[in-house]
Subunit: 321 residues, 2 copies
Amino acid sequence: MSERLGPPLGAPLFDRLALIGVGLIGSSIARAARRKNLARVIAIADASAEARARAEALKLGDEVFAGAAEAAAGADFVVLCVPVGADEAVARAIAPQLKPGAIVSDVGSVKGAVLAAVAPHLPKGVALVPAHPVAGTEQSGPDAGFATLFVNRWCILTPPDGVDATAVAKVRAFWEALGANVETMDAAHHDLVLAITSHVPHLIAYNIVGTASDLEETTRSEVIKFSAGGFRDSTRIAASDPTMWRDVFLNNKDAVLEALGRFTEDLTALQRMIRRGDGDGLFALFSRTRAIRRAIVELGQETAAPDFGRPHGEDNGNGGS
Amino acid sequence: MSERLGPPLGAPLFDRLALIGVGLIGSSIARAARRKNLARVIAIADASAEARARAEALKLGDEVFAGAAEAAAGADFVVLCVPVGADEAVARAIAPQLKPGAIVSDVGSVKGAVLAAVAPHLPKGVALVPAHPVAGTEQSGPDAGFATLFVNRWCILTPPDGVDATAVAKVRAFWEALGANVETMDAAHHDLVLAITSHVPHLIAYNIVGTASDLEETTRSEVIKFSAGGFRDSTRIAASDPTMWRDVFLNNKDAVLEALGRFTEDLTALQRMIRRGDGDGLFALFSRTRAIRRAIVELGQETAAPDFGRPHGEDNGNGGS
């Protein structure tokens, strides 16, 4: 869980890396790419003046622009790090500036819709290799990033048929240098799997916190007070960036509705067990679910410490202080 | 979040403390009560030979028994630390051994049903002061406990009408000495609030992990692999003790079904927004939910570190190593 980023490679993998968007993900890529010397020049673009000011203060790139086109001009690797709903406009803006042989990628949590939005705008001779690093925190913005965010996390590439194999290999090498494990699959399969592992869990978390926030004031304050009973776990992912997640649900509608359908069917069955007092049915489900967490911990995708290793006081052996 | 348990008090608060059940909660009470010198003698009972062997190896109590009655005999404070479905049988078993003036309490996550199950069996002159420490981890058993589990967590007392005020004050002093903040409310209100903050979140987590575990094998292994996208958060509370949670749902049926009804209504509305592409509606909800997490962090009921402070590598400032 806590591997270090190794020393920098020899020659930079890219001459000019353009990061369009410098939020949690873009700024984490900038920090890690700098540390590993993956690009001679890092050019950053962000439409927000506040984000640009922070990017300059944090020295995240060599050049900082308001417009995506300026950052992408002459770049051999352009990574779109904006909410997926903004990808099409960015693709339109950068297309005239892309040099032949450039590689365009992204970090979006949805892949089919991104491919459809970006591919038609790219000139011939530019390779599109969409990517999704399955990593993040509930925080947003340039200050939230850190260089080891991708260490031992998965990055999924969804290269379309016929894309240049060398370009795919370079994108893979880039992510591996950031510490990620790289997997390749087709976009539709990605969108289905991520609907289950990420999109629906976020939707459910947003919903459970939303239900609580609709309670009358006195009850709501008690919900906050007694949140350590389980509720507070849901609030973490429900504090994620609203624009990013709005765009995920708008752009992966079919897979999300399908996964949500399975979830609600199962919940209805569980509700029925409670109403009928079916203790054996409840016990059977509650026993089955422990195995899944164990598998996640064994795969190194979760800390083995109880309670996520949250601090509890001086002697619980969880890293509390 | 990381206050220390202070030094032991002067004279022990109780002469003989009997803990019936030595799982995560019972063993945490034993450790903390010993450290704070809250009882001259700590007597432990557990029906499981394995748990008793661990309790002895860990020196959790001065006396360890298979039967609840033996531990409770002569005790001035008896705390039931068993799944709530077992409370009635324990109450029946200990009743003949309870001495006049003894206080009986519990740690169950449901209060109305516990009161109804236990109160009828207690002899006159014994005070019943039900308690619910809102604290825990997803782990179970004597080894999972630790003395600071209750520090800065809430403990809710639900004393029935007419119970001896001195007894309530002693139970309050006991929990305060364990580091908890103590609140008093009536059992029905407790059960409604906890249905929202604890029972339904657990049910939803069990359900989301259950839905994933029903997927065909190849997809299920991908769900485990890519769980860092949000899913793994749900798996923590879905790894909690199955017997304890079965009993919670069987014993707080009405409040759980009511809270679940609100949740599913809201989820249906959210599903409709996705189907219709209502980006503004999604954005509005996703913005509202951030405030709730902020409030929980401000109240000291959650760590302010991103990603629960999970380790991420060497430089994220989250305690990673």
